[in-house]
Amino acid sequence: MKDARLSNWQWISLVVLRMLIGWHFLYEGVAKLLKGNWSAYGFLMESKWIFADLFQWMAQNSTVLSVVNTLNMWGLVLIGLGLILGIFTRIAAGAGVVLILLYYVCNPPFVGLFYSIPTEGSYLFVNKNIVELAALLVLMAIPSEQFAGMDRILYKFLKES
């Protein structure tokens, strides 16, 4: 694999990136689970832009909302574990991209859209979500898990058997 011939420094920086994103996902999930009564209700109700009706419908339907809450919390945990341990890494990164894309289109920082959820910075089109999404795309494109991650063992194990 010609394109996989990266220097150790390049591999390590990718692995660090993956673990930082994994940490972020995992703790977001764990914190919500520990809170006990966390709900996406507020975030969904704040939705702006063309999918606002859909997200608000999700918030107002209690069955759908509880499914959304569960999927989000456990999705964050599993994606985080996948990225930190480097196991099923591409699947985890891909799922992360989908999840972040949902957050992004729910409340996109477009011209003229305002939110009552306080944000800590100033964003226009690009926010931290979209940067994290792009970083996950990099991790999908370059298999850092084959340098450091359980996938490396898994891959060899499958080849051996």
Binding site: M1, A31, L34, A148, R152, I153, K156
Partner: protein, 474 residues
């Protein structure tokens, strides 16, 4: 690192067997996961410690000056008081009473047990007073028309009482309460909680009395704006049987939940909301009002279920040592903009204060007032926020020579971000322990009730009503 190492470590897994390097690099995420687990565990432990610290008292071993407390009425307001009291150390909750036995009573009982208080629950307050021995104090948050009976019975049973405002919906009952407190020798604190709020005490004691920042006070204004809201509902399966409701003076579940709007049960928004703020007028101006005129009505809601006025405007006149002060009070329950606050205006400055933690400023009248730099340096006030002219707000053409320049705004530096009712309850419990004097004893609560209840009478009379100074005496 030599060429061979580099090749092995950096390439995607070779076809060789799983070796040591594969293991080490394969499990690189495990220590990271461990670090996250430790960090998350510490964070969670910290969060729990903070939470149990806030719910002080329950688990601690009993101390000599711990007080045994009962709650009478644990609806919306009782709940607010209960949550404030859970943050006060040294209280032992012993009993809870509420006629909504399978809802409010259950909820409060469960909450207290969760915090380690062994409480008995009662539907009838008389049973509670009969059976509970060793109580020091009762906190009453029942509807206004019950206050007199509950308070007097508790005082006669030898208990100190914290009773929510309004003292009562009738002055005769309020007077009976004050007299009962005097006869029993027990304490009766009325729930005008701003009287214990450190920001209000500072504004009154320091800014107005000591520094006289406002100069000669001329007008006051107060408002409480609330958004339109539907009537309060209730879960159908927890409905109180009609016979029980009637026994306690209600005609229906709707009336039980929305008693504040009914004549004979409550006093309407002017009493629920206005009494807090009209009480501040008298406190800050140092005198009781001389007269009141008022306009009000049920203009928005259904008159059959909202007997009391949803909108009221009242104008009081006060005769202070320095001269007449006119005060305007407004309560509106159909629009919440600008919220609630009180405002006092003198020839040297304006004070805007609210129970709401982020509202509290004084404005200096530049034309007359001396500089306030001293008070800024002493830390009483913030640096002034000056009106800045920016290109966006170019007032060049708009500024009229007849307009006076805008005053400087100084924020109060004293902050108070705790539960609003906590200091007033603490004052009460410390008074029971003999360490403080009540900030709002029955006589003061009575004066406030006299001033406030007359607004509704003035609305009906459609003319100015005057107060006889004797009226304010119990």
């Amino acid at each position: 690192m030599d060429e061979k190492d580099k090749k092995e470590s950096s390439e995607s897994p070779s076809n060789k067997k799983i070796d040591r390097r594969d293991f080490l690099q394969g499990l690189a995420g495990v220590p990271v996961l461990g670090a996250l687990a430790v960090a998350a565990w510490k964070q969670e432990a910290y969060r729990r410690a903070i939470r149990s610290q806030r719910a002080a008292g329950s688990a601690a071993p009993e101390k000599e000056d711990d007080l045994h407390v009962a709650l009478l009425g644990v609806g919306a307001q009782g709940d607010v008081l209960l949550n404030s009291m859970l943050k006060i150390p040294g209280l032992r909750f012993q009993a809870v009473c509420d006629i909504w036995s399978n809802y409010n009573l259950k909820r409060a009982g469960n909450l207290l047990r969760k915090y380690g208080h062994e409480v008995n629950t009662y539907e009838d307050y008389r049973a509670m007073l009969d059976r509970e021995k060793g109580l020091d104090a009762v906190v009453i948050a029942t509807p206004d028309f019950w206050h007199a009976e509950h308070t007097i019975a508790c005082l006669q049973a030898g208990l100190n009482v914290y009773c929510e405002k309004e003292m009562s919906n009738t002055l005769e009952d309020a007077r009976r309460m004050a007299l009962a407190a005097g006869e029993s020798g027990k304490l009766l604190q009325i729930g005008h909680q701003r009287r214990s709020n450190p920001r209000y005490i500072f504004s009154h004691d320091v800014l107005l009395k000591e520094l006289k920042l406002l100069g000669r006070m001329v007008t006051a204004y107060g408002q409480w704006n609330r958004s339109a809201a539907p009537d309060l509902g209730w879960p159908k399966r927890y409905e109180i049987p009609l016979a029980t409701l009637r026994k306690y003076g209600y005609e229906s579940m709707h009336q039980f939940c929305n008693w504040r709007w009914y004549k004979n049960l409550g006093g309407g928004p002017i009493v629920d909301l206005g009494s807090h703020q009209i009480d501040i007028f008298s406190w800050f101006l140092g005198v009781n009002p001389k007269s009141v005129m008022a306009s009000g009505g049920t203009d928005y809601y259904d008159k059959s279920t909202h007997e009391w006025y949803d909108t009221v405007m009242a104008i009081y006149e006060y005769e202070t040592a320095e001269g007449t002060v006119r005060a305007h009070y407004k309560t509106q329950t159909t629009n919440g903009s600008l919220g609630y606050f009180e405002q006092f205006m003198g020839d040297e400055g304006t004070l805007v204060i609210s129970e709401s933690a982020n509202v509290g400023s004084v404005y200096r009248e530049k034309t007359k007032a001396p500089m306030w730099d001293r008070w800024v340096r002493k830390g009483y006030l913030s640096e002034p926020k000056l009106m800045e002219m920016t290109s966006e707000v170019d007032m060049g053409d708009a500024l009229d020579v007849r307009e006076t320049i805008s005053p400087d705004e100084h924020k109060l530096t004293l902050q108070f971000y705790d539960a609003y009712h906590k200091p007033h309850l603490e004052n009460f419990f410390n008074a029971v322990r003999g360490r403080e004097k009540l900030n709002c004893p029955a006589e003061l609560g009575y004066e406030s009730a006299v001033a406030v209840l007359k607004v509704n009478k003035a609305v009906e009379a459609k003319r100015t009503l005057f107060f006889d100074p004797q009226e304010f005496l119990v």
